[in-house]
């Protein structure tokens, strides 16, 4: 708006030139930013598009040659997944243990994070450090002992087994993230509530937890993320009853080779829950958070 008038009212001095150039820059910069962003989005989407493309093609079309979009559009692979209990139970199992893990992790991590953020106690620093080391334990290291442990206590091939196994990295992660958020809440809030006669549990549930709802949202997002994507422990600790979708997918190799279409459809369906979760926490992430202690 009004650019030409401005040129009129300012003389053609070098200073005016410089001003005009400064003004022009943000606009081109904006477009360059958009173009770069779009390029990256294309890079992210291309492999996913290819997966979707293949999931809507019949196996003969897939193997018949490369087609850029499904020419022989079919939902047969999705139909197969939704009608074959072997397949759809995979999703149910995965979602079950992920939900269990999220519930367990957040419930035990909340009070623990509160303790770390508010109190000093014997061994607090060492304990916190030890917790973080659990994040660094490669699941492969624990495969065999987990198998034996859960077999011995009779939890093998149950959802609880996977949910508990994922606690190994998810609880420390939750404590870590929540502690950061809680430290941002002034201690005076706690003191005022206690003076007002709130008991600790009532204060915690009614006042404190709502205050860090954003942090809980972000935490749940990360809990979901790391439990949903993990395969090694989940498939080792289960056989048939609690088998996650990810390991059902490894069984698509039939006598006639890999069933590409069904594999693609199953893969495409594993992306959906993640999208739903990000959609719910997007505002918490966009609000900005700073993880960890400073």
């Amino acid at each position: 708006m009004g650019e030409s008038e401005m040129t009129d009212s300012t003389s053609n001095s070098p200073a005016a030139d410089a001003r005009r150039r400064r003004q022009a820059r943000p606009v081109t910069r904006q477009w360059r930013k958009r173009a770069l962003m779009a390029t990256y989005i294309v890079f992210v989407l291309l492999p996913v598009y290819w997966l979707l493309n293949m999931s809507f093609q019949s196996n003969t079309e897939i193997l018949g040659g490369l087609t850029l979009w499904p020419e022989d559009f079919t939902l047969e692979h999705y139909a197969k997944i939704f009608t074959d209990a072997n397949w759809y139970m995979g999703y149910v199992n995965s979602i079950t243990y992920v939900a269990m893990n999220m519930a367990i992790s957040i419930v035990v991590a909340l009070p623990a994070a509160y303790a770390f953020s508010r109190y000093q106690f014997i061994g607090d620093k060492h304990l916190f450090f030890w917790l973080l080391t659990n994040l660094m334990a490669p699941p492969a290291v624990f495969l065999l002992p987990y198998f034996q442990l859960y077999y011995t206590v009779g939890l093998f091939d149950t959802h609880v087994a996977v949910a508990l196994a994922h606690c190994l990295f998810n609880i420390p992660l939750a404590v870590w993230i929540l502690e950061g958020f809680m430290s941002g809440v002034p201690k005076e809030i706690d003191e005022t509530a206690f003076i007002d006669g709130y008991s600790f549990p009532r204060f915690f549930v009614r006042i404190f937890v709502p205050m860090i709802s954003s942090g809980i949202g972000v935490t749940l997002f990360f809990l979901f993320m790391f439990s949903w994507v993990e395969l090694l422990l989940a498939s080792t600790l289960t056989a048939t009853n609690a088998q996650p979708i990810a390991s059902v997918m490894t069984q698509t190799k039939g006598a006639s080779g890999i069933d590409w279409g069904t594999l693609a459809a199953a893969g495409a369906l594993t992306i959906l829950p993640g999208i739903v979760v990000v959609y719910f926490v997007r505002n918490h992430i966009a609000k900005g958070f700073a993880l960890g202690r400073t």
């Binding site: 708006m1 009004g2 008038e5 401005m6 009212s9 001003r19 400064r22 003004q23 943000p26």
Partner: protein, 369 residues
């Protein structure tokens, strides 16, 4: 050096503003003269920060012009405007030392190192930051940080105006007056136009020579602190300035007499004529609590009111009065005993203001009181 003029300026944060409520700044004209110390006073949400951001170029106004010495600068970005701004919360570059913070605006335009050093030392001296120069800015106290933010505006010799957006919000009360005095000192020394945004009338009147009071996106009055107190141009200024604020009595004209509720009020002839001539039914009389005469016994021209509450504040008392449906506050000095039960009030003609549709109407006073 610049005179900053705003012509028919209006701003809305919406893409397609319709009603006046959509505007953060409603159409207004205003001039800040070179070298003045000004305050922009108003409640939160009145548009004062928006106005400040338009002057500094962080926002481009929806309509109207911003003129620096007559040159239209609407579309110029802040970096091209030779204006500095100090924000509500101190903005410092954490990783730099105080020295580098102060030098930053100069180095950005490739000022020779010797000149940078000279300016930084001079400004640090004025702001009493010399001992801190080598420290990391991150480790300063809030008031020191705020001084560093001001300093970044002062080091530039091309700066023609410094805008302050409630700069003392995070400063401890006992340091506030110190910083405010420092600001005044700087103003006198550098002769820079300063515009100081605040919602605190005391802060505004101690800093500024002239105060612009903003209300609902408009400057409703621009004047010295004394003018704002004695002759508020708008009922809002009356409410907002002074503690407690001005009293306003809704009046009607019945049987040729000026009435507050049912009580008749004696007024000057000039006032009566002005009330008669008022083009609207929204007519109010305004008087400051300080100027109401409170009597314990009936007096000539007095109007009777009931006493609701007395708040004793040591050297004076604030008396809450009720006149029909209208509540009034009056200030009674300690040498006078406050009334109980009933009181008889007189409003000195010279102190009574007439407000039609919230704006003050000048009236011709009678020759002698």
């Amino acid at each position: 050096m610049a005179e900053i003029a705003l012509k028919s300026l209006a701003h809305s944060y919406l893409d397609a503003p319709g009603s006046p409520q959509d505007y953060a700044i409603r159409e207004m004209d205003h001039v800040w003269h070179q070298g003045g110390a000004y305050a922009l006073l108003g409640p939160s949400g009145c548009g004062k920060s928006t106005l400040l951001n338009i002057i500094s170029g962080l926002l481009e106004p929806t309509r109207g012009d911003v003129l620096f010495d007559g040159e239209r600068v609407n579309a110029l970005p802040p970096e091209a405007r030779n204006i500095a701004q100090v924000f509500q919360f101190p903005v410092i570059y954490d990783t730099m030392t105080v020295y580098d913070n102060l030098a930053f605006p100069l180095r950005n335009v490739k000022t020779p190192a010797a000149r940078v050093h000279e300016r930084v030392m001079e400004v640090a001296e004025v702001l009493e930051l010399t001992p801190q120069l080598k420290r990391k800015a991150k480790n300063l106290t809030a008031d020191e940080k705020q001084k560093v933010s001001m300093g970044r505006g002062l080091v530039r010799d091309d700066v023609s105006a410094i805008l302050f957006d409630e700069p003392l919000t995070v400063i401890d009360p006992q340091l506030k007056w110190k910083l405010r005095r420092k600001l005044k000192e700087i103003h006198q020394r550098f002769e820079i136009t300063m515009v100081y945004v605040t919602h605190d009338q005391l802060e505004a009147s101690t800093f500024a020579d002239k105060i612009a009071v903003m209300y609902e996106g408009q400057v409703v009055q621009f004047g010295t602190p004394r003018e704002l107190f004695e002759t508020p141009n708008h009922t809002f200024v009356g409410y907002f300035i002074g503690s407690p604020g001005m009293n306003f009595l809704e009046i009607t004209l019945r049987d040729d007499r000026v009435r507050v509720g049912d009580s008749a009020l004696e007024v000057e002839e000039g006032m009566r004529r002005a009330i008669e001539a008022a083009p609207s039914a929204n007519v109010k009389l305004g008087i400051r609590p300080e100027f109401i005469e409170v009597h314990e016994a009936p007096v000539a021209g007095g109007i009777e009111a009931s006493v609701e509450h007395i708040q004793d504040l040591g050297t004076y008392a604030i008396v809450d009065l009720r006149l029909g449906d209208t509540s009034l506050k009056a200030r009674v000095e300690e040498d006078q005993s406050p009334p109980t039960g009933r009181a008889y009030l007189r409003f000195p003609a010279a102190r009574l203001g007439l407000y039609v549709d919230e704006y003050r109407v000048e009236i011709d006073h009678d020759e002698s009181p």
